[in-house]
Symmetry: C2
Amino acid sequence: MTTGLKKRPRTKTKRGSSSTPCSVHDCSACKIRDLTFCAGIEANELSDLSSISRRMLFAKRHIIFQEGDEANAVFNVTRGTVRLFKMTQDGRRQVTGFLLPGDFLGLASRSGYATSAEAITEVELCRFESDKLETLFERNRQLERRLFEIVDDELAVAQDQMLLLGRKTARERMASFLINLSEREEIRGGRDGAVYLPMVREDIADYLGLTIETVCRTLSQLKREGLIRQSAGHEFELLSNQGLLEMSGPT
Amino acid sequence: MTTGLKKRPRTKTKRGSSSTPCSVHDCSACKIRDLTFCAGIEANELSDLSSISRRMLFAKRHIIFQEGDEANAVFNVTRGTVRLFKMTQDGRRQVTGFLLPGDFLGLASRSGYATSAEAITEVELCRFESDKLETLFERNRQLERRLFEIVDDELAVAQDQMLLLGRKTARERMASFLINLSEREEIRGGRDGAVYLPMVREDIADYLGLTIETVCRTLSQLKREGLIRQSAGHEFELLSNQGLLEMSGPT
DNA sequence: CGCTTAATTGACACGCCTCAATAAAGGTGG
DNA sequence: CCACCTTTATTGAGGCGTGTCAATTAAGCG
Protein backbone atom coordinates (compact mmCIF):
# COMPACT_ATOMS: atom_id res chain seq x y z
CA MET A 1 0.00 0.00 0.00
CA THR A 2 1.26 3.35 -0.89
CA THR A 3 -0.83 5.32 1.51
CA GLY A 4 -0.56 5.76 5.23
CA LEU A 5 -3.74 4.11 6.36
CA LYS A 6 -2.68 3.33 9.82
CA LYS A 7 -4.86 4.74 12.52
CA ARG A 8 -2.19 5.88 14.86
CA PRO A 9 -2.97 7.29 18.24
CA ARG A 10 -2.11 10.95 17.96
CA THR A 11 -0.79 13.26 20.56
CA LYS A 12 -3.77 14.92 22.06
CA THR A 13 -4.14 18.57 21.27
CA LYS A 14 -5.40 21.19 23.61
CA ARG A 15 -8.29 23.52 23.12
CA GLY A 16 -9.21 26.68 24.84
CA SER A 17 -7.51 29.71 26.19
CA SER A 18 -4.28 30.87 24.72
CA SER A 19 -1.60 31.73 27.17
CA THR A 20 -2.31 35.42 27.05
CA PRO A 21 -5.40 37.33 26.06
CA CYS A 22 -5.31 39.60 23.06
CA SER A 23 -3.29 42.73 23.47
CA VAL A 24 -2.74 45.71 21.23
CA HIS A 25 0.13 45.43 18.88
CA ASP A 26 2.48 48.08 17.55
CA CYS A 27 2.93 47.32 13.85
CA SER A 28 5.78 49.78 13.43
CA ALA A 29 7.93 47.56 15.61
CA CYS A 30 7.04 44.40 13.70
CA LYS A 31 10.13 42.54 12.54
CA ILE A 32 8.46 40.45 9.89
CA ARG A 33 6.21 43.06 8.39
CA ASP A 34 7.94 43.02 5.04
CA LEU A 35 7.04 39.36 4.59
CA THR A 36 3.32 39.82 5.14
CA PHE A 37 0.46 41.63 3.46
CA CYS A 38 1.20 44.43 5.93
CA ALA A 39 4.03 45.44 3.61
CA GLY A 40 1.30 46.86 1.39
CA ILE A 41 0.75 49.80 3.67
CA GLU A 42 2.70 53.05 3.93
CA ALA A 43 4.65 53.71 7.09
CA ASN A 44 2.52 56.71 7.96
CA GLU A 45 -0.63 54.60 7.85
CA LEU A 46 0.68 51.88 10.10
CA SER A 47 -1.42 53.13 12.97
CA ASP A 48 -4.51 52.11 10.97
CA LEU A 49 -3.18 48.60 10.99
CA SER A 50 -2.12 48.67 14.61
CA SER A 51 -5.57 49.76 15.64
CA ILE A 52 -7.21 46.65 14.27
CA SER A 53 -4.55 44.07 15.07
CA ARG A 54 -4.28 42.13 18.30
CA ARG A 55 -1.43 39.99 19.44
CA MET A 56 -2.19 36.45 20.59
CA LEU A 57 -0.09 33.78 22.17
CA PHE A 58 -0.71 30.05 21.81
CA ALA A 59 1.06 27.41 23.84
CA LYS A 60 2.62 24.37 22.19
CA ARG A 61 0.00 21.94 20.83
CA HIS A 62 -2.89 24.34 21.21
CA ILE A 63 -5.44 24.55 18.45
CA ILE A 64 -5.71 27.92 16.75
CA PHE A 65 -8.76 27.01 14.70
CA GLN A 66 -10.31 23.94 13.17
CA GLU A 67 -11.25 23.06 9.63
CA GLY A 68 -14.75 24.34 8.95
CA ASP A 69 -14.78 26.89 11.73
CA GLU A 70 -16.41 30.12 10.69
CA ALA A 71 -13.60 32.28 9.37
CA ASN A 72 -13.98 35.69 10.94
CA ALA A 73 -10.32 36.47 11.40
CA VAL A 74 -6.99 36.14 9.66
CA PHE A 75 -3.54 36.07 11.21
CA ASN A 76 0.12 36.65 10.66
CA VAL A 77 2.54 34.36 12.40
CA THR A 78 5.07 36.48 14.27
CA ARG A 79 6.83 33.76 16.25
CA GLY A 80 6.92 29.98 16.33
CA THR A 81 5.75 27.29 13.91
CA VAL A 82 2.19 26.31 12.96
CA ARG A 83 0.97 23.18 11.23
CA LEU A 84 -2.03 23.21 8.91
CA PHE A 85 -3.83 19.95 8.24
CA LYS A 86 -6.93 18.11 7.17
CA MET A 87 -8.14 14.94 8.82
CA THR A 88 -10.38 12.11 7.68
CA GLN A 89 -12.91 10.40 9.88
CA ASP A 90 -10.82 7.25 10.05
CA GLY A 91 -7.78 9.11 11.34
CA ARG A 92 -5.71 9.72 8.26
CA ARG A 93 -4.16 13.13 8.22
CA GLN A 94 -2.68 15.35 5.54
CA VAL A 95 -0.54 18.22 6.70
CA THR A 96 -0.95 20.91 4.06
CA GLY A 97 1.74 23.23 5.32
CA PHE A 98 4.03 24.51 8.03
CA LEU A 99 3.93 28.22 8.79
CA LEU A 100 6.93 30.22 9.95
CA PRO A 101 7.12 33.79 11.24
CA GLY A 102 5.93 36.15 8.54
CA ASP A 103 3.56 33.61 7.03
CA PHE A 104 -0.10 34.31 6.53
CA LEU A 105 -2.66 32.19 8.34
CA GLY A 106 -6.37 31.90 7.83
CA LEU A 107 -7.14 31.13 4.24
CA ALA A 108 -10.74 30.11 4.00
CA SER A 109 -13.49 29.52 1.54
CA ARG A 110 -17.16 30.18 2.03
CA SER A 111 -17.42 26.99 4.05
CA GLY A 112 -15.03 28.15 6.73
CA TYR A 113 -11.34 27.61 7.32
CA ALA A 114 -10.02 25.13 4.80
CA THR A 115 -7.72 23.40 7.29
CA SER A 116 -7.13 23.13 11.00
CA ALA A 117 -4.23 25.06 12.51
CA GLU A 118 -2.19 24.00 15.54
CA ALA A 119 0.78 25.47 17.33
CA ILE A 120 3.83 23.21 17.01
CA THR A 121 5.92 25.40 19.26
CA GLU A 122 4.74 28.30 21.33
CA VAL A 123 3.27 30.61 18.73
CA GLU A 124 2.66 34.31 18.61
CA LEU A 125 0.11 35.58 16.15
CA CYS A 126 -1.12 38.91 14.97
CA ARG A 127 -4.89 38.72 14.61
CA PHE A 128 -7.11 40.75 12.30
CA GLU A 129 -10.86 40.51 12.29
CA SER A 130 -12.00 39.98 8.73
CA ASP A 131 -14.63 42.71 8.67
CA LYS A 132 -12.31 45.32 10.12
CA LEU A 133 -9.72 44.36 7.56
CA GLU A 134 -12.35 44.67 4.82
CA THR A 135 -13.06 48.19 5.96
CA LEU A 136 -9.40 49.05 5.84
CA PHE A 137 -9.20 47.56 2.35
CA GLU A 138 -11.79 50.07 1.17
CA ARG A 139 -9.34 52.84 1.91
CA ASN A 140 -6.20 50.98 1.05
CA ARG A 141 -6.31 48.95 -2.13
CA GLN A 142 -2.59 48.27 -2.03
CA LEU A 143 -3.03 46.33 1.18
CA GLU A 144 -5.72 44.23 -0.42
CA ARG A 145 -3.60 43.65 -3.48
CA ARG A 146 -0.79 42.29 -1.31
CA LEU A 147 -3.18 39.85 0.27
CA PHE A 148 -4.24 38.60 -3.14
CA GLU A 149 -0.66 38.10 -4.13
CA ILE A 150 -0.20 36.04 -1.02
CA VAL A 151 -3.21 33.86 -1.80
CA ASP A 152 -1.99 33.38 -5.35
CA ASP A 153 1.41 32.36 -4.03
CA GLU A 154 -0.25 29.91 -1.67
CA LEU A 155 -2.00 28.33 -4.59
CA ALA A 156 1.24 28.02 -6.52
CA VAL A 157 2.82 26.37 -3.49
CA ALA A 158 -0.12 24.00 -3.19
CA GLN A 159 0.33 22.96 -6.80
CA ASP A 160 4.02 22.31 -6.29
CA GLN A 161 3.05 20.12 -3.37
CA MET A 162 0.64 18.19 -5.58
CA LEU A 163 3.54 17.45 -7.89
CA LEU A 164 5.57 16.27 -4.94
CA LEU A 165 2.81 14.06 -3.57
CA GLY A 166 1.77 12.67 -6.90
CA ARG A 167 5.07 12.12 -8.60
CA LYS A 168 8.10 12.16 -6.33
CA THR A 169 9.92 9.36 -4.48
CA ALA A 170 10.48 9.37 -0.73
CA ARG A 171 14.06 10.60 -1.15
CA GLU A 172 12.99 13.38 -3.45
CA ARG A 173 10.22 14.41 -1.09
CA MET A 174 12.55 14.55 1.86
CA ALA A 175 15.17 16.52 -0.04
CA SER A 176 12.56 18.96 -1.34
CA PHE A 177 11.26 19.45 2.16
CA LEU A 178 14.66 20.16 3.69
CA ILE A 179 15.64 22.59 0.96
CA ASN A 180 12.32 24.36 1.11
CA LEU A 181 12.52 24.87 4.85
CA SER A 182 16.14 25.93 4.61
CA GLU A 183 15.31 28.58 2.02
CA ARG A 184 12.42 29.91 4.01
CA GLU A 185 14.49 30.13 7.16
CA GLU A 186 17.24 31.89 5.27
CA ILE A 187 14.84 34.60 4.13
CA ARG A 188 13.95 35.07 7.77
CA GLY A 189 17.57 35.59 8.70
CA GLY A 190 18.48 32.02 9.60
CA ARG A 191 21.98 30.69 9.21
CA ASP A 192 22.70 29.38 5.74
CA GLY A 193 22.43 25.60 5.58
CA ALA A 194 20.94 25.28 9.02
CA VAL A 195 17.42 23.92 9.36
CA TYR A 196 15.34 23.83 12.48
CA LEU A 197 12.65 21.14 12.48
CA PRO A 198 10.35 21.75 15.43
CA MET A 199 7.76 19.33 14.09
CA VAL A 200 7.80 15.63 14.95
CA ARG A 201 8.42 12.88 12.40
CA GLU A 202 4.73 12.19 12.16
CA ASP A 203 4.10 15.75 11.02
CA ILE A 204 6.73 15.42 8.33
CA ALA A 205 5.32 12.07 7.25
CA ASP A 206 1.80 13.47 7.03
CA TYR A 207 3.11 16.43 5.08
CA LEU A 208 5.04 14.32 2.57
CA GLY A 209 2.52 11.54 2.18
CA LEU A 210 4.82 8.98 3.82
CA THR A 211 4.98 7.05 7.08
CA ILE A 212 7.03 7.91 10.14
CA GLU A 213 9.30 4.97 9.46
CA THR A 214 10.01 5.98 5.90
CA VAL A 215 10.81 9.51 7.03
CA CYS A 216 13.24 8.10 9.60
CA ARG A 217 14.87 5.73 7.18
CA THR A 218 15.22 8.39 4.52
CA LEU A 219 16.76 10.83 6.97
CA SER A 220 19.17 8.15 8.18
CA GLN A 221 20.09 7.41 4.60
CA LEU A 222 20.79 11.07 3.89
CA LYS A 223 22.98 11.19 6.98
CA ARG A 224 24.92 8.10 5.94
CA GLU A 225 25.50 9.66 2.53
CA GLY A 226 26.88 12.79 4.15
CA LEU A 227 24.22 15.10 2.78
CA ILE A 228 22.86 16.20 6.14
CA ARG A 229 23.94 16.18 9.76
CA GLN A 230 21.90 16.34 12.93
CA SER A 231 23.70 18.96 15.00
CA ALA A 232 21.28 18.94 17.91
CA GLY A 233 17.84 17.72 18.88
CA HIS A 234 15.80 19.41 16.22
CA GLU A 235 18.68 21.17 14.47
CA PHE A 236 19.92 19.88 11.14
CA GLU A 237 22.61 21.04 8.77
CA LEU A 238 22.46 20.69 5.03
CA LEU A 239 25.98 19.68 4.06
CA SER A 240 25.39 19.64 0.32
CA ASN A 241 22.75 21.96 -0.98
CA GLN A 242 23.84 20.92 -4.44
CA GLY A 243 23.34 17.25 -3.76
CA LEU A 244 20.00 17.78 -2.12
CA LEU A 245 18.83 20.02 -4.95
CA GLU A 246 19.69 17.37 -7.51
CA MET A 247 17.98 14.76 -5.42
CA SER A 248 14.84 16.83 -4.89
CA GLY A 249 13.93 16.10 -8.47
CA PRO A 250 13.85 18.52 -11.35
CA THR A 251 11.14 21.11 -11.01
CA MET B 1 7.97 2.38 -6.59
CA THR B 2 5.04 4.44 -5.68
CA THR B 3 5.68 7.22 -8.11
CA GLY B 4 5.23 7.39 -11.84
CA LEU B 5 8.79 7.82 -12.91
CA LYS B 6 8.42 6.48 -16.35
CA LYS B 7 9.41 8.83 -19.12
CA ARG B 8 6.60 8.10 -21.45
CA PRO B 9 6.42 9.54 -24.89
CA ARG B 10 3.53 11.97 -24.71
CA THR B 11 1.13 12.97 -27.38
CA LYS B 12 2.57 16.03 -28.96
CA THR B 13 0.70 19.21 -28.29
CA LYS B 14 0.23 22.01 -30.73
CA ARG B 15 1.20 25.60 -30.32
CA GLY B 16 0.08 28.65 -32.14
CA SER B 17 -3.06 30.08 -33.56
CA SER B 18 -6.37 29.11 -32.13
CA SER B 19 -9.01 28.17 -34.61
CA THR B 20 -10.62 31.58 -34.62
CA PRO B 21 -9.25 34.97 -33.70
CA CYS B 22 -10.72 36.86 -30.82
CA SER B 23 -14.18 38.16 -31.33
CA VAL B 24 -16.45 40.30 -29.20
CA HIS B 25 -18.65 38.45 -26.81
CA ASP B 26 -22.12 39.21 -25.56
CA CYS B 27 -22.11 38.47 -21.84
CA SER B 28 -25.86 38.79 -21.48
CA ALA B 29 -26.24 35.64 -23.56
CA CYS B 30 -23.69 33.69 -21.56
CA LYS B 31 -25.10 30.41 -20.29
CA ILE B 32 -22.55 29.80 -17.58
CA ARG B 33 -22.30 33.29 -16.21
CA ASP B 34 -23.70 32.33 -12.83
CA LEU B 35 -20.84 29.94 -12.26
CA THR B 36 -18.11 32.48 -12.85
CA PHE B 37 -16.90 35.69 -11.28
CA CYS B 38 -19.11 37.43 -13.84
CA ALA B 39 -22.01 36.66 -11.54
CA GLY B 40 -20.67 39.48 -9.39
CA ILE B 41 -21.94 42.12 -11.77
CA GLU B 42 -25.42 43.56 -12.14
CA ALA B 43 -27.35 42.84 -15.30
CA ASN B 44 -27.38 46.49 -16.30
CA GLU B 45 -23.60 46.63 -16.13
CA LEU B 46 -23.02 43.61 -18.27
CA SER B 47 -22.03 45.76 -21.20
CA ASP B 48 -18.97 46.81 -19.20
CA LEU B 49 -17.97 43.20 -19.06
CA SER B 50 -18.82 42.51 -22.68
CA SER B 51 -16.66 45.39 -23.78
CA ILE B 52 -13.52 43.89 -22.31
CA SER B 53 -14.13 40.22 -23.01
CA ARG B 54 -13.13 38.40 -26.16
CA ARG B 55 -14.15 34.95 -27.19
CA MET B 56 -11.44 32.51 -28.21
CA LEU B 57 -11.53 29.05 -29.67
CA PHE B 58 -8.84 26.44 -29.18
CA ALA B 59 -8.66 23.20 -31.11
CA LYS B 60 -8.17 19.89 -29.35
CA ARG B 61 -4.64 19.52 -27.92
CA HIS B 62 -3.72 23.12 -28.40
CA ILE B 63 -1.82 24.91 -25.69
CA ILE B 64 -3.63 27.84 -24.11
CA PHE B 65 -0.66 28.98 -22.07
CA GLN B 66 2.40 27.48 -20.44
CA GLU B 67 3.62 27.46 -16.89
CA GLY B 68 5.69 30.54 -16.29
CA ASP B 69 4.23 32.55 -19.17
CA GLU B 70 3.62 36.14 -18.27
CA ALA B 71 0.06 36.28 -16.98
CA ASN B 72 -1.63 39.18 -18.68
CA ALA B 73 -5.04 37.64 -19.13
CA VAL B 74 -7.55 35.45 -17.34
CA PHE B 75 -10.27 33.30 -18.85
CA ASN B 76 -13.57 31.62 -18.28
CA VAL B 77 -14.15 28.29 -19.92
CA THR B 78 -17.41 28.45 -21.85
CA ARG B 79 -17.19 25.15 -23.72
CA GLY B 80 -15.02 22.03 -23.64
CA THR B 81 -12.52 20.66 -21.14
CA VAL B 82 -9.10 21.99 -20.19
CA ARG B 83 -6.28 20.25 -18.37
CA LEU B 84 -3.91 22.12 -16.08
CA PHE B 85 -0.53 20.59 -15.32
CA LYS B 86 3.04 20.97 -14.23
CA MET B 87 5.92 19.05 -15.77
CA THR B 88 9.38 18.14 -14.56
CA GLN B 89 12.46 18.19 -16.75
CA ASP B 90 12.61 14.41 -16.77
CA GLY B 91 9.09 14.07 -18.11
CA ARG B 92 7.03 13.44 -15.02
CA ARG B 93 3.75 15.28 -15.08
CA GLN B 94 1.22 16.29 -12.45
CA VAL B 95 -2.19 17.28 -13.70
CA THR B 96 -3.49 19.80 -11.16
CA GLY B 97 -7.01 20.02 -12.46
CA PHE B 98 -9.57 19.63 -15.20
CA LEU B 99 -11.68 22.64 -16.09
CA LEU B 100 -15.26 22.45 -17.28
CA PRO B 101 -17.51 25.16 -18.71
CA GLY B 102 -17.99 27.85 -16.09
CA ASP B 103 -14.59 27.27 -14.51
CA PHE B 104 -12.07 30.01 -14.07
CA LEU B 105 -8.72 29.75 -15.83
CA GLY B 106 -5.58 31.74 -15.37
CA LEU B 107 -4.52 31.68 -11.74
CA ALA B 108 -1.02 33.01 -11.53
CA SER B 109 1.53 34.24 -9.08
CA ARG B 110 4.10 36.93 -9.63
CA SER B 111 6.22 34.45 -11.54
CA GLY B 112 3.63 33.87 -14.22
CA TYR B 113 0.97 31.25 -14.76
CA ALA B 114 1.34 28.55 -12.13
CA THR B 115 0.55 25.70 -14.53
CA SER B 116 0.28 25.01 -18.22
CA ALA B 117 -3.18 24.79 -19.76
CA GLU B 118 -4.16 22.64 -22.73
CA ALA B 119 -7.40 22.01 -24.55
CA ILE B 120 -8.50 18.40 -24.12
CA THR B 121 -11.47 18.84 -26.42
CA GLU B 122 -12.21 21.80 -28.62
CA VAL B 123 -12.42 24.63 -26.12
CA GLU B 124 -14.13 27.97 -26.13
CA LEU B 125 -12.86 30.60 -23.74
CA CYS B 126 -13.84 34.04 -22.68
CA ARG B 127 -10.69 36.11 -22.36
CA PHE B 128 -10.15 39.15 -20.15
CA GLU B 129 -6.98 41.18 -20.16
CA SER B 130 -5.79 41.55 -16.61
CA ASP B 131 -5.29 45.30 -16.67
CA LYS B 132 -8.67 45.98 -18.19
CA LEU B 133 -10.24 43.77 -15.57
CA GLU B 134 -8.34 45.66 -12.86
CA THR B 135 -9.83 48.87 -14.14
CA LEU B 136 -13.30 47.41 -14.02
CA PHE B 137 -12.63 46.21 -10.48
CA GLU B 138 -12.03 49.80 -9.42
CA ARG B 139 -15.62 50.57 -10.22
CA ASN B 140 -17.08 47.26 -9.26
CA ARG B 141 -15.83 45.77 -6.03
CA GLN B 142 -18.40 43.03 -6.05
CA LEU B 143 -16.88 41.61 -9.18
CA GLU B 144 -13.48 41.56 -7.56
CA ARG B 145 -14.88 39.95 -4.44
CA ARG B 146 -16.32 37.12 -6.51
CA LEU B 147 -12.94 36.50 -8.06
CA PHE B 148 -11.38 36.25 -4.61
CA GLU B 149 -13.98 33.76 -3.57
CA ILE B 150 -13.09 31.72 -6.60
CA VAL B 151 -9.39 31.77 -5.78
CA ASP B 152 -10.14 30.78 -2.19
CA ASP B 153 -12.25 27.90 -3.45
CA GLU B 154 -9.45 26.82 -5.74
CA LEU B 155 -7.12 26.70 -2.79
CA ALA B 156 -9.57 24.58 -0.81
CA VAL B 157 -9.84 22.22 -3.75
CA ALA B 158 -6.07 22.04 -4.01
CA GLN B 159 -5.85 21.06 -0.37
CA ASP B 160 -8.43 18.34 -0.81
CA GLN B 161 -6.34 17.04 -3.66
CA MET B 162 -3.28 17.00 -1.42
CA LEU B 163 -5.20 14.77 0.96
CA LEU B 164 -6.11 12.51 -1.93
CA LEU B 165 -2.55 12.32 -3.26
CA GLY B 166 -0.94 11.93 0.12
CA ARG B 167 -3.30 9.59 1.87
CA LYS B 168 -5.74 7.74 -0.38
CA THR B 169 -5.52 4.36 -2.11
CA ALA B 170 -5.92 3.91 -5.85
CA ARG B 171 -9.55 2.79 -5.43
CA GLU B 172 -10.36 5.75 -3.25
CA ARG B 173 -8.71 8.14 -5.67
CA MET B 174 -10.62 6.75 -8.61
CA ALA B 175 -13.93 6.86 -6.75
CA SER B 176 -13.28 10.42 -5.57
CA PHE B 177 -12.49 11.45 -9.09
CA LEU B 178 -15.61 9.97 -10.61
CA ILE B 179 -17.89 11.43 -7.96
CA ASN B 180 -16.25 14.82 -8.20
CA LEU B 181 -16.67 14.99 -11.96
CA SER B 182 -20.21 13.71 -11.71
CA GLU B 183 -21.17 16.42 -9.24
CA ARG B 184 -19.58 19.15 -11.29
CA GLU B 185 -21.34 17.98 -14.43
CA GLU B 186 -24.63 17.83 -12.58
CA ILE B 187 -24.32 21.49 -11.55
CA ARG B 188 -23.82 22.27 -15.21
CA GLY B 189 -27.03 20.50 -16.14
CA GLY B 190 -25.64 17.07 -16.92
CA ARG B 191 -27.67 13.94 -16.46
CA ASP B 192 -27.52 12.56 -12.92
CA GLY B 193 -25.05 9.69 -12.62
CA ALA B 194 -23.63 10.20 -16.07
CA VAL B 195 -20.00 11.17 -16.39
CA TYR B 196 -18.22 12.23 -19.51
CA LEU B 197 -14.48 11.63 -19.45
CA PRO B 198 -12.94 13.39 -22.44
CA MET B 199 -9.44 13.03 -21.04
CA VAL B 200 -7.27 9.99 -21.79
CA ARG B 201 -6.18 7.48 -19.13
CA GLU B 202 -2.80 9.12 -18.89
CA ASP B 203 -4.40 12.41 -17.88
CA ILE B 204 -6.37 10.68 -15.15
CA ALA B 205 -3.26 8.86 -13.98
CA ASP B 206 -1.25 12.08 -13.83
CA TYR B 207 -4.08 13.75 -11.97
CA LEU B 208 -4.44 10.99 -9.38
CA GLY B 209 -0.76 10.26 -8.93
CA LEU B 210 -1.07 6.77 -10.44
CA THR B 211 -0.02 5.00 -13.63
CA ILE B 212 -2.13 4.39 -16.71
CA GLU B 213 -2.21 0.70 -15.89
CA THR B 214 -3.44 1.21 -12.36
CA VAL B 215 -6.17 3.54 -13.61
CA CYS B 216 -7.25 0.89 -16.11
CA ARG B 217 -7.20 -1.91 -13.59
CA THR B 218 -9.09 0.12 -11.02
CA LEU B 219 -11.74 1.09 -13.55
CA SER B 220 -12.08 -2.53 -14.64
CA GLN B 221 -12.42 -3.56 -11.02
CA LEU B 222 -15.18 -0.99 -10.44
CA LYS B 223 -16.94 -2.30 -13.52
CA ARG B 224 -16.73 -5.91 -12.36
CA GLU B 225 -18.16 -4.88 -9.01
CA GLY B 226 -21.09 -3.23 -10.72
CA LEU B 227 -20.34 0.25 -9.44
CA ILE B 228 -19.85 1.83 -12.86
CA ARG B 229 -20.65 1.08 -16.46
CA GLN B 230 -19.05 2.31 -19.64
CA SER B 231 -22.03 3.27 -21.79
CA ALA B 232 -20.01 4.60 -24.72
CA GLY B 233 -16.52 5.61 -25.70
CA HIS B 234 -15.93 8.27 -23.11
CA GLU B 235 -19.31 8.03 -21.40
CA PHE B 236 -19.59 6.38 -18.01
CA GLU B 237 -22.48 5.79 -15.66
CA LEU B 238 -22.20 5.73 -11.91
CA LEU B 239 -24.44 2.87 -10.87
CA SER B 240 -24.01 3.31 -7.13
CA ASN B 241 -23.27 6.79 -5.95
CA GLN B 242 -23.59 5.43 -2.43
CA GLY B 243 -20.99 2.75 -2.99
CA LEU B 244 -18.59 5.10 -4.67
CA LEU B 245 -19.01 7.68 -1.94
CA GLU B 246 -18.17 5.14 0.73
CA MET B 247 -15.21 3.99 -1.30
CA SER B 248 -13.92 7.49 -1.92
CA GLY B 249 -12.79 7.57 1.66
CA PRO B 250 -14.17 9.66 4.48
CA THR B 251 -13.77 13.40 3.94
C1' DC C 1 -9.22 -0.56 -44.85
C1' DG C 2 -4.84 0.24 -42.91
C1' DC C 3 -2.34 2.74 -39.67
C1' DT C 4 -1.68 5.07 -35.40
C1' DT C 5 -2.99 5.91 -30.79
C1' DA C 6 -5.30 4.49 -26.65
C1' DA C 7 -6.86 0.96 -23.52
C1' DT C 8 -6.58 -3.38 -21.31
C1' DT C 9 -4.61 -7.31 -19.12
C1' DG C 10 -0.94 -10.44 -17.27
C1' DA C 11 3.41 -11.48 -14.94
C1' DC C 12 6.65 -9.87 -12.10
C1' DA C 13 9.48 -6.39 -9.37
C1' DC C 14 10.13 -3.12 -5.92
C1' DG C 15 9.42 0.89 -2.87
C1' DC C 16 7.04 1.88 0.74
C1' DC C 17 3.93 0.23 4.39
C1' DT C 18 3.08 -2.76 8.45
C1' DC C 19 4.34 -4.82 12.52
C1' DA C 20 7.50 -5.22 16.16
C1' DA C 21 11.36 -4.40 19.10
C1' DT C 22 14.64 -1.23 20.97
C1' DA C 23 16.94 3.10 21.73
C1' DA C 24 16.88 7.91 22.52
C1' DA C 25 14.84 12.08 24.04
C1' DG C 26 11.92 14.83 27.09
C1' DG C 27 9.30 15.73 31.13
C1' DT C 28 8.33 15.50 36.04
C1' DG C 29 8.88 15.06 40.83
C1' DG C 30 11.93 14.39 44.41
C1' DC D 1 20.75 16.43 39.07
C1' DC D 2 18.98 12.02 39.06
C1' DA D 3 15.41 7.99 38.69
C1' DC D 4 11.25 7.15 36.36
C1' DC D 5 7.98 7.35 32.88
C1' DT D 6 6.10 8.79 28.61
C1' DT D 7 6.76 10.20 24.10
C1' DT D 8 9.43 10.16 20.03
C1' DA D 9 12.83 8.21 17.01
C1' DT D 10 15.21 4.43 14.91
C1' DT D 11 15.97 0.03 12.84
C1' DG D 12 14.83 -4.71 11.11
C1' DA D 13 11.97 -8.28 8.83
C1' DG D 14 8.49 -9.23 5.87
C1' DG D 15 4.19 -8.20 3.06
C1' DC D 16 1.55 -5.78 -0.31
C1' DG D 17 -0.16 -2.19 -3.43
C1' DT D 18 1.21 -0.13 -7.15
C1' DG D 19 4.83 0.39 -10.62
C1' DT D 20 7.29 -1.76 -14.67
C1' DC D 21 7.54 -4.32 -18.76
C1' DA D 22 5.33 -6.59 -22.40
C1' DA D 23 1.76 -8.40 -25.28
C1' DT D 24 -2.83 -7.94 -27.08
C1' DT D 25 -7.16 -5.72 -28.12
C1' DA D 26 -9.96 -1.81 -29.11
C1' DA D 27 -10.73 2.72 -30.78
C1' DG D 28 -9.96 6.64 -33.77
C1' DC D 29 -9.18 8.55 -38.10
C1' DG D 30 -7.72 9.64 -42.89
